[in-house]
Symmetry: C3
Subunit: 652 residues, 3 copies
């Protein structure tokens, strides 16, 4: 069943408004309400002195009005009295400056003291509300990683890192080998000599950096799990989640997802424009729409991280306050994003927030209501969605496994950061380029990690999975899927060494390629490749390989002219260029044909996807668009001629 | 009477040169000489060990030659022995680094120890020279705010801030309410828990930031007043001033001006180019002229800050040393700027400096003389001005109150910085755009604050006075002036909350407008508005309002097409766009017609203005320009056909 | 005799590979092998506990195979145990942050403790290998200045700076005079009051900055000399060198060179692109060639620093790992750079490195061999060079003194940094512009310092030797050379004051010029000059002078139209513009004609030069080029029609 909800902060409004707020939520068609994640200092005003009255009452009012409550543990914002008592809780930035109290997320994941307090307060919450009939789900903390808070360079972090390394390597010589400390006389005699990899004269060993990033990810997972455990103890049978931030990759979202009952993510498509690399005209065109495929990608990613179950826990309802510029989404976009989420397998969309705040940091952040209690634009769009949901069948099937899998590996992301080799090399951009090129062909995609079962796919794409992985290679060999390996695949061992047989290391079992030279290239340089007798520009990264596999594309260049840009056998292709733009479009076309995956021809701003028997088509553009549907298709919502920013849903 | 002066550093030149220097100054036509502001370590070589001999002699020589001395207190540069004794005097930057001794302005305004020493040395100066017949005016310190020195993050500043907050709020709950600490669990139990708003994980509460800026401004005013008081005690009847820096808005210049007998400012038009936002061709065109209206604007501002009385205390005489590039002003510009200042109500123009230094930081800064004692270009221009002054009547009337007032409110500036919402939102640029558009129509403008009497104006423009102000609204209602309110007007209460009735809050008494959506927009986006059947591009900021007032301009946009860009009743207009360029020119034209303010048609590089019965016209351009003057006008200086960089003065 | 060598790290490879590596080196035609510079922590695993076995064995294997060993002292990377014992060794950056262990060059030159340990370990190395028959040369430390490591702001540096100042000035009043501390009340009473010039509120006195840079240079020289002394003591008769980094000017390379038997430098032409100021098309054109004249310039510079003797100690063999982008050099470039070095007087070219590392920071840095032991491209090119050397005479004469000298003065570089006056003023770029313009005319150039004998030159060019130098002026007067003085010449005394007679100070003895106004100009401004009835654009810097010398070029400008751009008498010319591009080409043409220096007409990408009787021509371009050689010239290598990236050598 598709459901809607909202984030609500009763503590920020006079108590007399709560009852009416609850009624209006229900009238609007909402069934979920999230509360409590920034309430620690109101609940525990001094250490051990608790005041639950207001929250008890709020939950009661909301629940009795018919809403299901998502209760959040409040560890994202420890109170000042706790920081004053234990200032060592505060995180330390890469320059060694303590990051002070005064906003939120002011804690270091490696502080044992803080983790104990976070678990303690989570336990108090869980004891209080674990059995409350209105509290139907739990959220742990809020947006791990927001404002670069995964990495801290505190004394606690240093000690914890030394201890983590001891567990990983046992023997200091093993670490010396892995990190290659012989290189610059960096040899360690004992684990307690090891420093955090900040403020060095030059860059540290990439293995030092990679291990630090693995450690930091593990610290988040440990912190989260400790809270999950105590919440589950006192609130059995209530699903537990965390609300991820889409663009953060500083910890392993798959791994953290294993400890949750479902994943959720916070969807702010307007702000994502700042992460894109586009010319100004394209940015202007997408100004009030956002990057079309960014929300879809994240819906797919977190569906995977949640092992099939995901919510949007915060959906942007209008302009926000935190981007460099904060434009208004086009009217209709909030509804569009909501339906897009449902189409991509999201079960519940929760809007952030009920009513725009009059004060504090986010007062420019829109809500469903204006600060003066009048409805804002999103209110009307949510009302429409709520009505439209009722037009669909009550039971909505899950999405089927897609035919195409696109691999995102967090450790490989950290590997790229540990040794980027080119300053504008971006795995995130590569991934989004692939996702967009596939989506533009009307192809559904699953985002997968190396740990996932790949047996059901027709095509598995590894854009740049840098770290060798023998188990993954076995799975790929065992599957019936066609495989695409992008440049840099398997170029490093798990210890960040070059494989003995040169890149792609273990992946050479799939295709006989040996990478003998790599180049990272500046933006002002474009090379040409010839594929199927057409010329395409490529750039950013180039490899020269030795291979006896059939050559599918070649460089046309004053440097090593005719060297292969793409080689392939019947099982696996390997690309030596960093395909993007028209080159990538063509490559995707070829790959889909090769793997036998059906594609469609879509307008530039139209997207289609399927959830169970339901087909969805979305028009992000300015003009109406006609979508092709088979004869006999039953339209459940909308029309085949989709208006701008509209959706059509049909069943075959 | 219009007078000229010069900044002189006898301590930097051999004593045998002083007598001749003084004679040459008098011969040149100067009547004022400023001394002493960087002399502390020469006067007090060790604590309590004073050496006045040299300064006594210098004052004597200058005075006997016929010059009036401006004596400066030396607190802008405390000696090393004082810093060594009390290192806590040093300011601390936002990253927490102590800013060391070795240049100037190395003190924290919140250091009680330093304020005591600054008052002590000012007292010694005043006792020594308070009754000296040659010392006819006093300057306190030098250029408050230079090199970002208003804000310090020291322990002293923290304690002082806590104490300031205690005085402002009395009750910690009042502070919690004002700052909205409930928002992210930021609740304080006691004032001594409060930190300075630097080095946080995310941005602090905007009220925290605004209060910090108010506090920092108050610290400057307190520091200055303590010196003014002791100087007045020992030097009664001598006017006291401070030399402001035009582009600094980190403290309230109006408020500090209340403690002075006249205001003065330091005029460096060449360096101001770096603050402008222009394309390269326009920058190249203005390279050796500077932004035409920048000096005029500051003359008008400091005339207001000085309650009608203002000097230029430092006038650029040639290339300087501190900008990114230091070009030469065109020959003639020094004379032009001098006459421009007089025209805008300045009484005395003091040049910086007599002779270019051979050593230290500013050795590339021009003077009236070259380092080898030969005259530099400005020397000749000053000589010309001195002669020309004699052609005018001895008594020069003050400027009359203008018909148009443009409002600058320091607290609103801090409000914009506390919550900019768009990264390139600039109140300073908006202000300069308005001033330029009005000046280009030949209209004289008064710069006013919310505290000023507004009853005599025909038109009062509030470009973006963010903070609500009930008293101001009453004054505006009571006046006969037409009112223009720009976007963001009244969008925050004094506590940085959104007004209960939505923006423009109290200002809605003037015009029935309710702002329901705001957008900050990137440079690559331009929206179109239609006003009087003409299309204009606007950008940067846009609001959607609810209003029943007549619509004077509308957006033409794919976002909320036809929404009002300008509404207005008979008393007041409200603009929802950030007007600039051609859109602003047209708006200004419309506003002036509406308010019945006469305008002229001027060449692009020509400006006209009036001081009492005298009319001035200036030609900043490359070509001669004809200025229109009424029949019977008596030309006192120059010709109606103004040569490039020349001036004409006439009396009707 | 021309020789080849390679950098080798036996400690990074299994011992069983060493023997075969040595044999392959010899087979390839190498005669030198460099070892040991990052081996401290392997040699001395704990303080005083030495393990020489592996290095003994490596030297033995290499030597017995027929290779001559360059042994390096390991002070560029002190071991962790030493840092743990004496953390005060670590350098401190300009913000006051300690730069931690974990990479290399983590030491402050002013740490007495560290210098003692560096000398101690160098002594141990020298005792061990000083008499070893296979160890034929010594390198001290590695790449002084890499990653901005000359300047440290530690407590040790502060104390050492105070002591250095005491030695320089003896009397604190002398320092106060030199620094002009009277300017901003910066007077010191004692040397121990003086701070390092970082983290100030504004910029320090330029003399403070200049002295700090002189001090920092002296600290490097002292550090180096202490190691040279102990190595010479134990390894008499073995030449000692240091491997300089070409673009670093933070210490005086000439002065350090005085303590060496020969200079050597590390040649990475690909990375040098990032230091250039070119448009994107030009960057793309040079992408895989590098800036054509950058290696030649450095060959000439270090030949001078080595007093006629120089090696390349590290030659880039393929892509590297440390630039923003790391492209592949064109095939053939490694050979081309090798021959270019030999042509410019280099005796030995040593490649970095033998085999690409599989691990640690530089694993993307190419070697002669790939990590899997297969030959990489450079291997084949080196083999070719080795064979070609045999085609030349066994004895290769040294280069003759050139006809043209171009002056680089390190102290003048520091002077420019101490008081740049324009933010994009770059002495390094000016120097390279001159070198390129001369090379493009086929003219050989010697890079000289003010200390060099100048009597044999026909033309001496001082692009911007800022510091006055009476002795140099006497040498220039005494020589028969024609002299060119660029803008800023002699504009400061050795104490960074403006000369009493205005710039060019003492240089006015050569030409009657007095600089009365200087301008630094932004990129968006271009002025025109007229020279020989042709118009040229100039920018960046402009001076207005008083002079009765003949005017050779004039400005055409709306600012001081017709003011001289170039004046000259029979001995000396002075340019008031910063000539570059076409203006500089024309000026160089005129200067060479005037001085009677023959020039050639060359294709844009062709360079010619001479070493003794041998003539070399190089083609850096994409197309074949015909080189003119006299009748009867004997071609020793290549053909007169030079292929792209090829070389021809002939003897007249």
């Amino acid at each position: 069943m598709l459901e809607l909800g909202v984030c609500y902060y009763p503590e920020q409004w006079p108590e007399h408004m709560w009852e009416r707020d609850a009624q209006r939520m229900v009238e609007l068609g909402l069934t979920w309400v999230r509360v409590g994640e920034f309430a620690w200092s109101l609940i525990e005003e001094e250490e051990g002195k608790f005041n639950w009255t207001w929250l008890d009452r709020a939950v009661d009012i909301l629940g009795k009005a018919g809403l299901k409550v998502v209760m959040c543990t409040p560890s994202a914002a420890p109170p000042k009295w706790l920081i004053d008592k234990h200032p060592e809780i505060l995180p330390v930035d890469a320059e060694g400056h303590v990051r002070k109290f005064g906003a939120r997320r002011h804690y270091c994941f490696s502080s044992d003291i803080y983790r104990e307090h976070a678990v303690r307060i989570a336990g108090e919450y869980a004891k209080r509300y674990g059995a409350n009939p209105f509290v139907n789900a739990w959220q742990i903390d809020n947006e791990y990683g927001d404002h670069d808070t995964i990495h801290s360079y505190s004394e606690s972090a240093k000690k914890a890192f030394q201890s983590w390394l001891t567990s990983r390597y046992h023997d200091i010589e093993a670490l010396n080998q892995a990190w290659g400390t012989v290189f610059w006389s960096m040899k360690y005699n004992r684990f307690d000599q090891i420093e955090l990899p900040n403020s060095l004269v030059e860059e540290p060993s990439p293995t030092h950096l990679l291990d630090y990033q693995r450690f930091a990810s593990d610290e988040v997972i440990k912190f989260n799990r400790a809270q999950v455990d105590i919440v589950r103890k006192h609130a059995p049978d209530r699903p537990v989640t965390h609300n991820f931030m889409g663009h953060n990759t500083d910890f392993d979202h798959y791994e953290l997802g294993q400890d949750l009952d479902f994943a959720s993510w916070d969807s702010y498509p307007m702000g994502a424009l700042i992460h894109g690399k586009m010319d100004d005209a394209e940015k202007a065109r997408l100004l009030r729409t956002g990057i079309i495929d960014q929300p879809a990608f994240n819906n797919d990613l977190y569906r995977q991280a949640g092992q099939g179950r995901a919510w949007i826990m915060e959906q942007q309802p209008g302009p926000v306050n935190w981007a460099a510029h904060n434009q208004s989404p086009h009217d209709g976009m909030v509804r569009l994003w909501t339906w897009l989420a449902f189409a991509h397998g999201i079960d519940v969309v929760v809007y952030f927030r009920w009513r725009q705040s009059k004060f504090a940091q986010e007062q420019f952040h829109a809500g469903l209501l204006l600060p003066n209690d009048e409805p804002d634009q999103a209110y009307f769009e949510v009302a429409q969605v709520a009505k439209e949901i009722a037009q669909l069948p009550q039971e909505i099937a899950d999405r089927k496994t897609a035919k195409v899998a696109l691999m995102l590996d967090y450790a490989s992301r950290w590997a790229a950061l540990s040794l980027p080799q080119g300053k504008d090399y971006s795995s995130a951009r590569n991934m989004m380029n692939w996702y967009q090129a596939l989506s533009a062909k009307g192809v559904d995609v699953d985002i997968v990690g190396p740990h996932n079962d790949l047996s059901a796919y027709d095509l598995v794409i590894l854009p740049d999975i840098i770290l060798e992985n023998a188990e993954l290679v076995q799975k790929l060999k065992a599957s019936n899927a066609k495989i695409y390996l992008g440049a840099r695949t398997g170029s490093k061992t798990q210890n960040m060494h070059i494989p003995d047989n040169l890149p792609p290391g273990e992946f050479a079992q799939l295709i006989n390629v040996k990478v003998k030279r790599v180049e990272s290239l500046p933006e002002y340089n474009q090379d040409l490749i010839v594929m199927d007798e057409q010329r395409f520009a490529v750039g950013n990264w180039r490899e020269c390989i030795e291979s006896d596999e059939p050559v599918l594309a070649r460089f046309e260049s004053n440097h090593r002219d005719q060297s292969p840009a793409l080689v392939g056998n019947e099982k696996c292709w390997y690309g030596t260029a960093n395909f993007s733009g028209a080159a990538l479009e063509h490559l995707v076309d070829r790959l889909l044909s090769w793997a036998g995956v059906p594609m469609s021809s879509l307008d530039r701003d139209v997207r289609v996807t399927k959830r169970g028997p339901l087909h969805f088509a979305f028009n992000f553009g300015e003009r109406s668009a006609e979508v092709q549907m088979p004869e006999g298709a039953e339209i459940l919502l909308g029309r085949a001629e989709i208006a701008p920013r509209d959706v059509v849903i049909w069943r075959e």
